[in-house]
Amino acid sequence: MNHESSAALPAVPEGLKGVTADWSADKQAFPVPWGKAMMWIFLLSDTFIFSCFLISYMNVRMSTTSGWPNPSEVFSLTVFGESIPLFLIAIMTMILITSSGTMAMAVNFGYRRDRKKTALLMFATALLGLSFVGMQAFEWSKLILDEGVRPWGNPMGAAQFGSAFFMITGFHGLHVSCGVIYLCVVATRVLNGFYERKGTYETVEVAGLYWHFVDLVWVFIFAFFYLW
């Protein structure tokens, strides 16, 4: 479909020539709605913030002389008398992936102008996000109250474990919480016909970009903090 539409307008070159043509002319660089371009640029800057957290975590983990607490054991959960490693984290990962799936479908239904399904899927996404934050709150309180993890130390090993954990997952949780509010606002507007009057549902896709990014960051946190 995409190829057909670009073939219909022959003036725009593809490939590297397309890059220079898009940048050099006195015109709008990216042929996308401004909200989408700005969201991408915001997400790019957010990438650098999260990367700074993860890279400094790498740095302290490499340079500490005391042993790093084993995340597999620290984050295990006892279910029916058996200790399952990373149980809660695995559930949280699946929930976030599921929410990404519902969001992708919400964007799709938005462009089909199916208001009810779009709003419903967005509220489902927000609800999944909310349950993610709830589990994170449970995880934090378990770590703080039961395991005695503090930003300046913990009984299991390297003192930097706590500060890295609270900083990285806290900042991610903040993003999820903001995303839940953002999604609820956009979903309400979908429902009351705001975008129908505006004539475009691109805001749903922009909100989707943000939400997928939150999922994307979790992929890296899951790999580097919990599994490494």
């Binding site: 990216f30 996308v32 990438t47 490693p85 799936g101 089909r112 970009l209 899951f222 790999a223």
Partner: protein, 141 residues
């Protein structure tokens, strides 16, 4: 209904851009969704079966990059954007690899320096007491 609209919107859509009305079948999202589940399960199993060393790290990074790639390409529609936007968003983060390299070297250096100075501090008291000076080389082992 959706078809008629998409044809109309495609005519107005900016060339090559992922304009409104450019729709993808729901099927592709469901497939990616399933793939993400599978990759997540695999990376969880890496921990569950306690794989260690380079095998563990390689598998974790492979599954991580696959998941990240599919999210960005399909869910975030990057695969359908023009190359100019792709490059503007995907190239700058490569600079982070330089930071990773620098901080890895720095972390290594800090680690070695700490080891050195901690050993040095342990030796200090015996080093100052002249009567124990002879035992010092033995303490090092």
């Amino acid at each position: 209904m959706a078809h008629g609209h998409s044809a109309e919107a495609a005519a107005h859509a900016p060339a090559g851009g992922h304009g409104e009305g450019v729709q993808h079948p729901i099927k592709i999202y469901l497939w990616i969704w399933l793939l993400l589940f599978v990759f997540s399960t695999f990376s969880y199993l890496v921990d569950f079966y306690r794989l260690q060393g380079y095998l563990r790290w390689t598998l974790i990074i492979i599954f991580m990059l696959l998941k990240a790639g599919f999210i960005v390409a399909i869910f975030m529609h990057m695969a359908w954007e023009r190359l100019a936007l792709k490059l503007a968003i995907l190239v700058p983060p490569l600079a982070l690899l330089v930071l990773v390299g620098l901080m890895a070297i720095e972390g290594d250096y800090t680690f070695l320096t700490r080891l050195q100075s901690f050993v040095h501090e342990v030796q200090k008291p015996s080093g100052h007491a002249s009567s124990h000076a002879a035992e010092e080389p033995a303490a090092e082992h």
